[in-house]
């Protein structure tokens, strides 16, 4: 087992992890990022645009990805899981497991020949199951690093990729590799997952083809998305009427997630705006309990959406069913002029799901977490990056739902805290 020494270990390479790594690297310290997916970039690289500026998400994320991967003092392990992190006398010892890509990374020139000849199609995780990719493929166009990954469970071992590879770097026998990382401090930036599609059973999220997740909608809206257009999954029709169901995965005691996820109102408004640009003739309706537009420029963004003709209907959607043509039917209580229970039909429905923590146990670290699994910040007001363990810092959604600007600010704050901490430890020891 090889061992690597560094100043700071960062778990997760989303926008929080990358920002912290860049700040730490620029200060002269060394950082190691460990990322479980095959590419860095986190959730943000898969988004279409960001609110409230409507900047292209990948145009912001890609430079950060490139900067982190080329930074002389930042080392990145992708496709690598953290097995455990232990606090020791002079810092932390982590065991990480580098999963096999079945490709010799030092040899690969990212020519994509293996991907071209591979006969097996699998669901594309990066497109949240909407598109397909090959069983051996580079995760997505602007992935970093540009190494293909072979999906061992789907590969039929035909050998086509191995035969075509000009560098002879396909290795079917690669094994997981354990690496020891010794660091002085740790930043947890593990981020979030969206609430599962089946969290609220009344919405039939996993059963109805035209009820999609908000991240799937992001991909449909992205210029390099799976279909290149906003089409509904069941029959490829361009939808005439699109509905957003707010609070589909948070602020709901009945699914055990009573907290507000803070981003769903804004991303739904953003998606609706993008949609009305993309499909100017379509009707877009947002069903909400109340709109929480709290950040800088958010209220203006919301008012702009109203002015653009997006329908905002105050009603919590109670049930989603469908007709024989897979048109989703929403049941709501229409509150204008009294109260009328009604069924409304749309072509496609996007569930505005909430954010839940991406990991339950933080690698054996005895971190205090709240009842929903987010890391507690004992000094939330003055030092939001600090956790209950000295030397372990937190950045981004791992400590609670937040938007991208807040995440980046927290990451910067975590970086400064970590730099101070590492330097003080140096002086002390």
């Amino acid at each position: 087992m090889s061992t690597k020494n560094t100043d700071v270990l960062i778990v997760g390479s989303g926008i929080a992890g990358m920002q912290a790594a860049l700040d730490i690297g620029d200060s002269g310290l060394n950082a190691v990022i460990v990322e479980k997916s095959p590419s860095i970039g986190g959730k943000m690289i898969s988004l279409s645009k960001v609110f409230p500026t409507l900047d292209c998400a990948s145009c912001i994320t890609t430079p950060k990805m490139a900067a982190s991967s080329h930074h002389p003092r930042v080392d990145i392990y992708t496709y690598t899981e953290v097995k455990e992190i232990k606090k020791v006398s002079d810092g932390f010892e982590a065991v990480i497991i580098k999963k096999p890509r079945f490709v010799i990374e030092s040899e690969c020139i990212s020519c994509k020949k293996c991907e071209e000849v591979c006969p097996v199609y699998v669901k594309d995780e990066f497109e949240y199951g909407l598109g397909v990719k090959k069983a051996i493929s580079i995760p997505f166009t602007n992935a970093i690093p540009q190494f293909p990954v072979l999906d061992e469970s789907k590969c039929i071992r035909c050998g086509a990729c191995a035969r075509v590879c000009p560098k002879d770097c396909i290795d079917y026998l690669q094994k997981p590799e354990e690496i020891n990382i010794k660091s002085k401090a740790v930043i947890i930036s593990t981020g979030y997952e969206i609430t599962p599609m089946d969290a609220k059973k009344e919405y039939n999220g996993t059963k109805l083809p035209n009820v999609i997740s908000s991240l799937q909608a992001e991909r449909l809206l992205a210029p390099h998305g799976p279909y290149g257009k906003f089409l509904r999954p069941s029959d490829g029709k361009i939808p005439d009427s699109i509905a957003y169901v707010q609070c589909a995965g948070s602020r709901d005691e009945s699914i055990g997630i009573p907290y507000c996820s803070r981003v769903c109102c804004m991303y739904a408004i953003k998606q609706a705006m993008l949609l009305s640009g993309m499909l100017p003739l379509s009707e877009i309706t947002i069903y909400y309990m109340d709109i929480r537009a709290f950040g800088k420029g958010y209220e203006q963004f919301y008012n702009q959406a109203r002015a653009m003709g997006i329908n905002f209907v105050k009603a919590k959607v109670a049930k989603i069913t469908e007709d024989e043509e897979h048109n989703p039917i929403l049941r709501i209580d229409r509150q204008e002029d009294g109260s009328k229970p009604q069924e409304v039909k749309h072509d496609i429905v996007v569930l505005s799901q909430g954010l839940v923590p991406s990991t339950k146990n933080f690698f054996g670290l005895e971190l205090e977490i709240n009842e929903y699994g987010f890391i507690n910040q004992p000094q939330k007001t003055l030092s939001p990056a600090k956790t209950n363990i000295e030397g372990v810092f937190v950045a981004g959604v791992a400590s609670g739902p937040k938007d991208i600007p807040d995440t980046i600010m927290e990451a910067g704050s975590a970086a400064v805290e970590v730099i101070n901490y590492v330097k003080s430890v140096k002086v002390g020891s």
Binding site: C247, M289, K314, A315, A318, K319
Partner: protein, 355 residues
């Protein structure tokens, strides 16, 4: 209309809901399979209660349209228990429609009702046991007095309900003689078919309720028409009363057993929160079923002259006396009439286009 924030506290005394948590998202109304465009609940009712629109609530038929399947409480994002709120509204309305004010007193002080029931039972029983005359004759008189008393009570309730929901608005007496309305009212009253309106029909609840309801109605007919004379006649298997009594008792005992069990287990929303008056209601029904059946079986086995038959019969009549005097006119019992009435009045409103 004036906002009255105290109103919600008043209704809260009738049940365990938390509508101050409600932010009016309307999930309850949308998920409710019985809520209709022209008869929408629970959200509208919750809103009325939040602002204290007492008149609006008192003139509403919606509380009686709710069969408490509990889907609203199950899916409420705020755990405000809208289903239990509707149940509390029904209790509240019973109190409001009761001119004597005793229903309210019993709802607020359920111990008083329990004590009165036990007291009246004991007093009647002691009186019956010490009675030297022909007890069968006395029982006949008591049983024949029941209908007069009950009819008076029902009339009071039905008239208040009619007044609050129709008369106060129309200012004149309106009636619907539409055959389909009368038919619908009767069908709903006899079958409680709205129980099947919930997205997953709770068959156990429906059947248990039907058993109790039909068994009880039969008991009512048997006793009010004074069909049973266990101290005079010796009943056998072939008597016409035998299947009647057995069905009535079986219905009440089996149905009552299931209902009590569910209230005890608290698995289903509708049986999670029991008001003490609910317990008294099912427990007394249960006792009526058991005492009637015991008397009848003892009579069949030992003949009308046996001492055991007399005692059992006296207990039976004493229970019925307590039941009729204290429970029937007050609290839960009257919902038997309000539910079909609400359907009749709802159709009447539609027919006469009363908003």
């Amino acid at each position: 209309m004036k906002v009255n924030t105290k109103f919600i506290k008043e209704v809260k005394k009738y049940g365990a809901f938390d509508i101050s948590a409600c932010f009016n998202c309307g999930n309850c109304t949308a998920v409710c399979p019985l809520s209709k465009e022209d008869s929408s609940f629970p959200r509208k009712m919750i809103r009325y209660a939040q602002v204290g629109a007492e008149d609006k609530i008192e003139s509403s038929l919606e509380p009686w349209m709710c069969y408490y399947c509990g889907e609203c409480s199950d899916t409420c994002p705020r755990q405000a228990y809208p289903g239990e709120f509707m149940m509390s509204l029904r209790r509240y309305l019973i109190s409001r429609y009761d001119a004597t004010g005793l229903s309210k007193f019993f709802y607020m002080n359920s111990w008083a009702q329990n004590i009165l029931v036990i007291g009246i039972f004991l007093v009647s029983l002691i009186f019956f046991i010490s009675y030297n005359g022909d007890f069968q004759e006395l029982a006949a008189k008591i049983e024949l007095a029941f209908p007069a008393y009950v009819t008076l009570a029902i009339f009071m309730y039905v008239f208040t309900m009619y007044k609050k929901t129709i008369l106060d608005k129309s200012k004149k007496f309106l009636f619907s003689f539409d055959f389909s309305n009368i038919k619908e009212t009767l069908i709903h009253g006899l079958t409680q078919k709205n129980f099947s309106g919930c997205s997953e029909t709770d068959w156990t609840r429906w059947i248990a309720h039907l058993l109790v309801m039909s068994g009880y109605t039969l008991t009512l007919i048997i006793s009010n028409l004074h069909l049973l004379e266990p101290l005079k006649k010796h009943y056998g298997l072939l008597d016409i009363t035998t299947p009647l009594v057995f069905y009535a008792a079986f219905g009440i005992i089996a149905g009552g057993f299931v209902m009590m069990g569910r209230r005890f287990l608290k698995k289903i929303q509708s049986s999670k929160f029991s008001h003490p008056t609910d317990w008294l209601f099912v427990a007394m029904l249960f006792l009526i079923g058991i005492s009637t059946l015991t008397t009848y079986i003892l009579n069949m086995a030992m003949g009308p002259d046996a001492e055991a038959v007399a005692i059992s019969y006296k207990i039976n009549i004493a229970i019925e006396v307590a039941w009729i005097i204290i429970i029937v006119p007050f609290t839960k019992w009257i919902h038997i009439f309000f539910r079909p009435m609400a359907i009749y009045l709802y159709n009447l409103k539609k027919e006469k286009q009363l908003a």
